[in-house]
Structure formats: C-alpha cells, structure tokens
Symmetry: T
Subunit: 145 residues, 12 copies
C-alpha cells in the first residue's frame, strides 16, 4: 500500500510558525513519525508540500496513478478551495483530512471545511498526533475496503 501525504500552505514553516498554536515540531519531524508508523503497517508514503492551490491539485491528480489513498492537511485551502474538493472527487481515492489545531475553537471562517464532505472523515486538534491518527484511519479503511 502506498499513500500520498499532502501538506497545504504554510505548513513548511512548522516549528517556527506560531508555536503556541501549531507546536514546536517541524514538518520533517511529522513526516519521520509518519514514515515510522507506515513502516510498521508495511506501507510506503510520498510527501508533498506546497503553498500553491494548483500544485496541490496536480499532486492529488498524480496520486491516482499509483497511490491507494491520501492523507492531507489542506490548511487554509480547507476553507476556500472548491478546486481541491473537485480534484478529490475526481480521483476518487479514499482521503483523510487532518488539522494540527482544533479548527472549531478558532476564527469562525475556519469552522467550515469544503473538503471534509468528500473525505472519509476528519481529525483535528491533536498536533502531530492528528497526522498519526489519520494515517491509522486511512490504513484501516483501505485494508478493510
């Protein structure tokens, strides 16, 4: 099994960006934790981060060729991108949406997700653990499909 791990805008700054909100870990820390967990599952992961909505769409489209699912944190685009939602619907891969922070306790424009309705489910609020739990959820879903 192989999964695309997709990181949205500004996640490359993790560790430096508002540590009070997002924690002190870097994106590499998170990716390594994911890799370790995936190894235990016998899965491989591909990582991609971009600040560009278009590149994220390209990556989603590309995943349909050789991936079994997508673990994604669309970050700010969660709330504004119908185009990413359409890409997810188009490739029809199982997808799990994760957020580091609890989006329900932040500004009201972060409460609504355009992408969650086309994902299997959503996990938010647990920092790095959101990703790790998301990978478990995705792995279990694909395994039992």
């Amino acid at each position: 099994m192989k999964f695309l791990v997709l990181h949205g805008p500004n996640l490359n700054l993790l560790g430096t960006r508002e540590p009070g909100v997002y924690g002190a870990q870097t994106l590499d820390d998170i990716n390594q934790s994911l890799e370790k967990l995936a190894a235990g599952f016998g899965c491989s992961l591909i990582f991609f981060q971009s600040n560009s909505e278009g590149e994220l769409i390209n990556a989603i489209q590309g995943a349909s060729a050789d991936c079994d699912g997508i673990l994604m944190n669309p970050a700010a685009y969660t709330h504004t991108s119908i185009a990413i939602r359409d890409a997810l619907t188009a490739v029809a891969l199982p997808c799990v949406e994760v957020h580091l922070s609890n989006i329900h306790s932040r500004e009201s424009f972060r409460h609504k997700s355009l992408t969650a309705p086309v994902a299997i489910g959503q996990i938010c609020g647990f920092g790095r653990d959101s990703y790790l739990l998301g990978l478990r959820a995705l792995f279990n879903h694909v395994k039992s499909a």
Copy 2:
C-alpha cells in the same frame, strides 16, 4: 489512568439503527474494542450511555472525581446542548469528541458542534475506528500533559 467513555442518545441502538450510516457493530462491540486497546495502554475505562441530556451532564460532573479524561460521542446533543458544553468547561477534564459518521457530509444542522470548541479535538467519519483513534488521542494527550 482512567477515562470516562460517554455515549449520547440513540447510540444504544447501534447495530440496529441505520446500519448503512452507522455500521453493523453494537455498542458492546465498540466498548470491548476500546477496553482491549485501553488494556494495552494500561488504562481503565468507565462506560456510560444515556438518552438524557441531564444524565450525560451528571456523568461528566461525576467524572471529575476520579477520571483523567473523557472520550465522548454526544451524538445529537453535539449540535444542540450548551449545557453539556458548560459541563465540560466546568470539570475541565481533557476531552476528545468522536462521531461514527462524517458529520460534514450529512444534514447542515450536523455540521456545527457546540461541544468541539471546548474539547481537545474532534474525530469523525471512521465508524468504530473513530472511538479507537479518539482513545489513542486522549491517552497521548494525558500522558504528555
């Protein structure tokens, strides 16, 4: 470590209630899975299900005496109960909110959670796995607190 597992209204019907939406497992199945996982963590669990908002509040208040956290699925009360939210704020125990179904792809009145803003985070859409992932999230949070 000891956690309260709180099940909201109609969850006692699991397995019979709309299996297409909620899956074929009973609440007992879920509780046993949780117990097994908790055992691996060296945690104990207390289970409580009620269809009554007031009894759920009583249970939350009672948990403050001897529990280290709450894993809860407030079901329909997620969207209507300020009183449960207030109870969670009052006891100030770490709490993880879970939902079997993906609430973001259902009726619009299920998109808004009154309780999620006072929880650590929210997990939805993965059936029984929502609970198991939620227990992991809660355990990790309390352990690292």
Copy 3:
C-alpha cells in the same frame, strides 16, 4: 395493530394551560377519545407523556419492540430536538406528528419542525381533532403498507 401515543412536554397540563390557545380538554379527555376511535379500528394504544427529552427517546426506542407506529405530539421538542428525530429514524416505525395549535400562526421559532421531515406527515391546528385525524392517518398508512 398497536400504536404508541406520545405526548411531549407540558401536555400533562392540558385543560389548565393557556386554554385560549390549547382548548379546555385534559390529556385524559384526548386519550379517551383516541381510545374510542382506536377501538373502532380494532387497534390498541399505549399512552406516554413526559417532560423529559430522554424519556421520550426511551419510549420511542421501546416502541420498536411491539408497536406498529407512533402518533406523537413532541410539543416544544418539535423545534429543538435532533435526538428525538434520530430516535424516530433509528426505530423506523411509521410516525405521524400532530399539534393542537396552528404552529404556523405562532412565534417564528415554532414554524420549523425538526421531526416532521422523518414523519409520514404532520397535522396541526385542530385541537383534539389533530390527534384523532392523526390516528386515522396512521392507521390507514399502516393498513395499506
């Protein structure tokens, strides 16, 4: 055939509560009228009134064991209870919603029903007759199903 007749909050006060709005009959008067009509249909009725949302849900769940349908007046909970709606969906019994007063000519928060969309239909505005007409509707529906 057997039906559950469910009366929501404050209906136990009928006859004393705002007679200008709800009429001078007591809940017993209504129940006796229903019983008489049901006898003519060869049906039996079970009556239950509660001011508690949770107990109403329990009664709905209990009806799935031995009832063929529900005649209900959820009163104030009509407009606030997603949990009752979920219980109705879960037991999947045919249900008719009735109201003594014309909810469309009262405060705007009474215009919207959360339960009507999962009922067969709704009857409002005819005082005791709302119940009697509702029983007819329910009986005909079940008979012809």
Copy 4:
C-alpha cells in the same frame, strides 16, 4: 353545509405527475372520495382547479356567497402567493390547508407556507388521505363553531 374544494396549479396532472411523489390517483379519484365522505356528513362540495393564481382568488372570493368553508391545496402557490392569503383573510371563511406530500421533507423553499397562518390548520404527507382528513377537520370545525 357546503364547502369549496380548491386545487392549485398542476394538480390536474395527478396520476401522471411524478407518481413516486404524489401517488397514482387522479384528481377525479380524490374528488369522488371526498364527495362520498361529504355525503356521509350531509355536506355538499364544489370543486375547482386552476393553474392561475387569479382564478383561484376569484374562486375564494366567490365562495363567500354560498360556502361555509374552504378545503384547499394551494400547491406551489402555498409558498409564493400573498394574494391568495389576502383573499382568504378577506372572505373570512374557515379554511383547511392540505398537501399530498410531506412538504417538510422536500426542498427548503417548500417548508414555508404563506397561507397556513390564516387557515385553521394544515395537514400534509398522507396523499389522498390529506384531503379526506382535511374535510373531516373542516366539517368538525364548522359544526362546532
């Protein structure tokens, strides 16, 4: 006693129009059932169907001369016609509003009725039975007035 039975736009197509939603009976079937029930009550009925808002208003106005009440299904005009509402208020005849389908489980623009607030009450969701129950309600109301 004499009642006007008023059928709004597109109801002349009953039996052919979306049978899944409105049933297989024609408007004549419904009218005959009503006539039979009315006969039992010792009442006479006048039937009128029109696709024109103005003609429906004319019929309502005309009823004030020799009718004791109105049984009406304003169909689509339920949700858009202040003019029909004004006609009902003007003639001040008791009126019962009925709908074949459960308007609360359809598109949101069908949830709001402009005419129900000036009727005695509303019955919806029971197909042909909505009319028959409505006639009972109207007859009882006028008899006891």
Copy 5:
C-alpha cells in the same frame, strides 16, 4: 391628460374586506372620488381591477398606447411580482404607487416593494386619501414634465 388607475388583487372586496384595516369604502366610492378630482384637473381616468397578475400586466402594457401615466395599488403583488415591475419599466410611463394601509406597520413581508423602485414615488397609510394624493402627485409630475 389620461391616466390608468390600476387596482390589484382583492381590492374588489373593499368595504367588506377587513374594514378595520382597509376602511368601509368600496372600490366604487374610491373610483368616484378619483373621477371627481380628475375632472377638476381636466383629466380623464380609466379604471381596471384584476386578481390576475397577467391581466394587470396586460393592462399596463395597454396603457402605453393612450395613457400619460399610471396610478396603481398593486396590493399583494407589490411584494412578489417582478413581472409587474418589468411591465412598468417596459412601458416607461410615469407611475405612482399607493396603498390604503401603512405597509410599514404590518407583517414584515409587506415592508418590501418590488415595484416602488421603478415608480416615481409611493404613498401609503391614508386609506382613500392615498389614492387622491397619488392622483395629485401623478398629475403634477406629468404636467411639469
């Protein structure tokens, strides 16, 4: 100078319809008062009342041939008819909108006029006087144009 006086739905019932709201005068009384005032101005009037939106539009279109302006009370269609608004824009005759009652102190759905923005102005709340003042306003406007 010649003006069309247009009366919308239910105004034919004046004198009988809710005298508390609309006064005890009939439409004929109003028309005669208008005729008398018009005579003083050296104007002639054409009167038209209909309950049908389409016929009102036909009348507006017809007025463009031989009228110098329109005095209209669109009644309930004031709040729902884009088609009448379009007709007024199309014929481009000066138009004055009048209402017997003060629409601003009634139900909120009567506060908004779709036709007033394409009229010269609006007069409401003065019973028969609304029409007489409206005729003066229209006459002065056309005279000074």
Copy 6:
C-alpha cells in the same frame, strides 16, 4: 389647527445639496409653499430644522403642548433613530412622514424606515410635492378624527 413641520439633518442645505437628487428648491421655498397651502386650510404651521437627533426629539416633545399633528422628514435619521420613533410614540400626535426622493430606489440602507411604523403613513419621491401632499394627508386625518 396647528402643525409642527419638522425637517431632519442636512435639509437646511436644500437647493445646494445634490440638486439632481433633491431638486433646486430651498427649504424656505418649501416652507412658503406649505404655509400657503396651510392658509387655505385655515391651519398654522411651526417650522423646525435641526441636524441634531436630540433637538428633533425635543421639538417633537414640545409639540405635544400645542400642536395637532406633525409633518416630518426625518431624513437620514429615518433609518437609524429608535429615539425619534420613541418620541413620536410618546407624544401620540398624528404624524405623516415624507421624503423628497424615492427612498426605495436608493441605497438599500434607505429602504427601511424606523419611524414609518408609528406614523399614519409615508409619502416619498415627489420632491416638494411630498411635503404638500403630506400636509393634505395630515390635515384630512386630523379633521376627520
């Protein structure tokens, strides 16, 4: 009979202020026209203009001592002043609201009047004529009261 004529904020600039919208006449021109018309009615008028909400309220309160009615153009305060509305309700004098321009064809924040619901009626869109028609309406109303 004696009436207060009340002019709201910026009306002292008439003739210079946006002549395209408000016409070329000054406030004095309008007052003189009113005076002339009032003379014909055998009425006297008191004029008051202010840019201050408080002074307009004072004037309304003062009118209760010796006036039989109020002809007012509250201008911008029409849309924002609950205090002027309360003053009108408090003195309980018959009041007619007028506007030079057609407020329904301007910015949406001018469509809603806070004062019109407590006036007898409203006249807008006829320039100076709005005032003259308003005086007629007020005179007729008081005369026939």
Copy 7:
C-alpha cells in the same frame, strides 16, 4: 420533432421595451429566426407568449401531448414561480432555459433561477442568439437521447 417555444411576461414588447437591455428585435423577428433554424433541423415549432403564469403552465402541460421538448424564456417568472417549475417537472419534457440579457450582471433578485434546476441547462446574455443556441442545445439533446 416538435418543440414548444415559450415566451414569458413582457416579451411581447420586445423591440420597444428597453432596447438598451433587450435589443431592437421584436418577438416575431426572434420567432422567424428560430423557425428558419428549426427548418434546417427538420423540426417544427409552436410559439406561445403570455403574461399570465397560469397560461404558461397550461401551455407547458399541453406540450406533453405532442411536443418533444420546450425552449423557454420564463422572463420575470424565472425568479418567482415554483408553479412553473412544478409544471416542468410534471410533464418531464426536456427543457432549455434562455434569457436575452445576462441575468448575472443585473439586480441580485435576477441571479437566482427557480426553473433552471429542472431544465437541462441555461443560456443567457446573447440576445436573440440565446434562443438560437438554446434551440440547437435542445435539438442535440433530444436527438441523442
């Protein structure tokens, strides 16, 4: 193949009505262009224009007997008529909605179409060409069905 071409309210005034918005062509010009194009397709057309919502509904219902589709410009009724929408759903003929002007660049109440969701598609903004393109679309759709 035979199609009904339906023209809504005020379209009979084309050529005289706001030529800046709707162009200088008359409805006859448009009908002749359509006829010519239809001839090329080997289709026949029936034309109907009315200012009355009810007559438009009658025409739609009548088309079900002998037409293969409907090309319609509901004009103002596009935005207010649930009854026309219901008629279209009832006859279940393929329908194409056209508008002369670009409704998206006009008043906000013209942005929403009640009829478009039950049509195959919508074409707006191209003057007479909207009709001609609409006929092509309808012909292609029916041919390939």
Copy 8:
C-alpha cells in the same frame, strides 16, 4: 408568600466551576443568602437544582400548586429550551430570570434568552447579587400585584 428558587444545569458545581467567571461561592452559600433575605421579607423559599431539562419543567409545574412566584437561573437552558418557556407560560406564575455572569459580554449564543420574554424581567452580571436582587424584584412584584 412562598417562592420556588430554580437552578439550572451545572450550577451545582458553583465554587469549583470556572471561578473567574462565576465567582467562588457555592450554591449553598447563595441559597443561604437568599434564605436570610427572604426571612426579612417574611417569605419562605423552596430550592431545586437539576441538570435535566425535564426535571426543571416538572419543578415549574409543581410550583403552581403552592408557590407565588419563581426565581430562576435556567443557565444553559436559557438559550435552548422552548419547553421551559412553555412550562412558565403554562403555570402563569410571576417569574424573574437571573444570571450570575453578564451574558451580553460572552459568546453570542448566550445573548438570546428564550425564557426572558415570558418572565417579568431579567437580571444578569452581578454574581450572587443577581439572585438577591431578583428575589427583591419578585417579592415587590407579587406584593404589589
């Protein structure tokens, strides 16, 4: 004179629950202060606290037998319970609503009270003093009724 003092959900936690918001006093402290004040008035008090909406309704209904008024803090149910509002209307006892905190400076969902419109008045923001002032208000009201 005898009054019911009704405490809504989570008020049993006072003193421990968010002392920064609700103060350090326990519910017993408040009840004793009330008792002392009532003694000075020659009144007796009955106290009831519940986390259950249904039990609060039962208590309100029960008060009609032997109480002269209700002093209540419905807490979270203030904002969600039409059923409690209906109970208050049904028993028709004078009622004063109090809140420890200033609900107008908290989350927007706490700004709206469903129960205040059927109470005599509302007092909020003064901690324990809200109750004491409320008792004074209720006593004065009943004494002077």
Copy 9:
C-alpha cells in the same frame, strides 16, 4: 460614594409616555426613590437626563472626575449608540444598565444592547424597581471592589 444617574431620550416624559408600558411614575418620582435609597447607603447621586446622544456622552465623560460609578438607562440609544459604549469604556467607571420595561418581550430591535457588554450587568422589566435594584447592584459592586 457618589454616582451619576443617567436617563436617556424620552425618559423626561415618564408618567405621560405610554403608561401601559412604562408605568405612571414620573422621572422625579424615580429620582426621589433613588435618592432615598442612596441616603440609606450613605451615597450621593447626580441626576442627568438628555435626549441628545452627545450630551449623554459629555455627562459620562464628566463623571470620571468625581463619580464612583454610573447607573444608566440609555433608553433607545441602548440599541444604536456605539459612541455611548465607547464613552463608557473610555472612563472605565463601573456601570449598571437598567430598563423599565422587559426589552426581551418587545420589538426585536430592542433585544440587542450595544452598551450592556461593557457594563457590569443589566436589569430590565421591573419599572421603577429596575433603577432601585440597579443602585443596589452598583453600590455593592463598588463597595466590594
């Protein structure tokens, strides 16, 4: 201790203004009652009433020099004046907001207070008692501060 008692627009009319809503007492009656109560507390009071928003702001600003708190009834300005709110925030004196009537049972535009969020608390619905209770609340607050 010294407090400013601030009365907003139209309160000078008390006793004459809508006695059904506001009671038969004059503002002087209220002021004398307040003075008597204040004397018992050993406090002095300054009274100020104005119909002008600006003068009320001046009075609030002036109070910062020699007052320990403000008891205010901003009347209509409660719902429209951000400027009064800003003045209260600027002087940072403890402030209690009172209303004679129950603003929650009146027009919806009176339900929202712009000033309450910056006051200690709000009391409404008790006529003259609202002021007296408000003075108690203010005195207790300042004493215990």
Copy 10:
C-alpha cells in the same frame, strides 16, 4: 479571428472524472470538436488548461496581445476567484463562460458565479455542447461588434 479557449482546474481529467456528471469525452475530444467548428468559422483557437489560478490569470492577460475573445470554463474557480474576474475586466476582451454540468442543479456553492457578471453571457448544462454553443456565441458577438 483568434480565440483563447481556457479550461480551469480538473478539466484535464475529463473522461475519467465522474463520467456520470461530466460525460465520457476527454478534453482533447472537446478541443477537436471546437477546432472543427472554428475552422468552419474561419477562426483559429489557442487552448490552455491549468489547475493554477495564477496561470489562468497569466493566460487571460496574455490573450490581450493577439486574441479577439475568450471562451472559458473556469470550473471551480468560477465560484471563488475574484482575481480571474479582475483579469477579465482588465483585458476587456469579450468572454463567454461555459460549464459542462448544470451548475444550478448542484451544490448551492456552485450557483453563484463571480466571473459571469463580467462575461457576455453564460451557457451551462449541455456537456460538450456547452463549449460548441459558447464558441458560436462568441464568434457571433465578435463578428457583429
């Protein structure tokens, strides 16, 4: 004459993406059909597809150098991109907006187009035909300009 044909995000997946919604044709199929039609008109076409909002803007800006118009399907960006709207306004080329599916019968967030108001017109719902009709519309518009 030369036109830019602009395809928005995810349209490169046509033929594989949700064939039930968008049809089985690929983007190449559509482009070839367009080319064939354009040849008949004596026009040439440039094709551009991108998933990036910025690249679509670049393409629009580039078209101003050598194109006579734009045929575009902005796909998901239709509903979110003010930047594309601004680009269209800036280059001031005639533009026709097309959509494969009927956006009015899909999710409500697809009903509103930010770009249509600055286009000549919009065509939606006809699959590949939407493009072909759009090219006709654009060609006719430019030819007759």
Copy 11:
C-alpha cells in the same frame, strides 16, 4: 489651502482612554503634529471635536464656506451615522477618513464604515500617524485636482 480637521466622539479623551488601544498621546499632541505638517505644506487647519452627531454635521456644513477639504475621524459615528455621510455628500468637499486603531481587527460592528464610501479614501491602524498620513493624502489630492 485650508482644511477642517474633524474629531468625533470620545476623541477628546485621547491619552486617558484605553491607551493600550489608542496610544498615550492627547488630541492636542495630534493637532500640534498636524499643524506642523500643514505649515510645511503651506496650509492652514481648523480643528473641531464634538461628541454630538449634530454638531459634527454643522461643522461639515460650515466647512463648505471656506475650506478645501476635510480630514476626519468620525470615531463611533463611522459605523452608525447616515446623517454624517449625507452631510459629506452634500458639501461635496474632498474628505479623508482616518482611524487611530485598525478597525478591521476589532469588534465586527467596527468593520463597516458608512462614511468611507463617500470619502476619497480611508487610513486606519497607525495611531497619530493615521492623521499625518491622512493630511498628506488630502493635501496631495487637492493640490493635484
């Protein structure tokens, strides 16, 4: 060149009012800084501060006699005063709106400005610098007009 510098309500308290939000400078400090800058431009300034909406309107009207522009901070009236907006439109002097604080990061009722749409532009968030930059903007605008 001569400009009116207009300060709205509560700005006279600058330096004492919420220094955390508005800074420690007094209004005199700001005026002196402005005077110095104006001197460099060869302009003279007139200063006016008032807490009264009416007086601010009077000042704006007065400026039309001898000023070339207005630099204003309408403070709280920015968000509530249509009357000040109308005054600005009436005098038709170039006007620059400034705010000390960043109104976009404060309460939502401060995000909307009623006066900015009739000003040349708006500057906010820079404390005293907002005024100095505003004077530059005004000077440049008038000089280049």
Copy 12:
C-alpha cells in the same frame, strides 16, 4: 532597513487596466516613486509581483529571512485568501496593506479584507499615494518599534 513590496494579481497591468479606476501609472512608475521615497528614509526595497497566490505566499515566507516589514497590495486575494493571511501571521513581520482604489465604494465583496486584521493598518483610495503613504507608515512603525 529593508522592506518587501508585494503586488498581487493583475497589478502588472497597471496603466492599461481600467485607468478610470486605477489611474494611468504603471507598476514601474509606482515602484520608482517608492524607491525614491525609501532612499530618503535610508531603506532598501525588494519588489515582487505575482498573479499566483502560492508565489505570493512563498515571497512572504522568504521575506522573514532578511526583511524588516512588508508593504503589500494583495489585490483580489485580499478578499479570498486565508492562506496569505496565515503566511503573514506565520512570519510575524510588520505589514501594511494598501489599495489603489477605495474598496469601500466598490462591489460589496471588496469591502471585507481577510488580511487587514493581521496587518498594522490599511490605506486605500489614494492611487499611487496609497503605496507612498503605506511606506511612510511602515517605516515609522518599524523605526519606533
């Protein structure tokens, strides 16, 4: 000191794009004016324009390495980009937002800025001067920090 000057989508077209709205100057003209002013301040500037949201985010992130602040005109992205807002929050550099046109007097979707709340302040409406004033504001802010 060194600042990043960031120009959003379509600003590369300045001088050609709607000169009536944005003026006749090119982006180079503006940049040169800024450079000249910066030189006077002893500052250096880096310029970046892009039509891509992602590239603008990259530029903001890159500025954190060697810039002391950002002067930006996010153009259309001002109203739609949460991602740019997040980037600004992440790098935590002082930022000033400028707009050439007065966004408050344009379409309502341009009134709301997603980025202004995380900037120091906003300047709009002064054409090129908006940038020059913005640079002054930024320079003063950084100098005095």
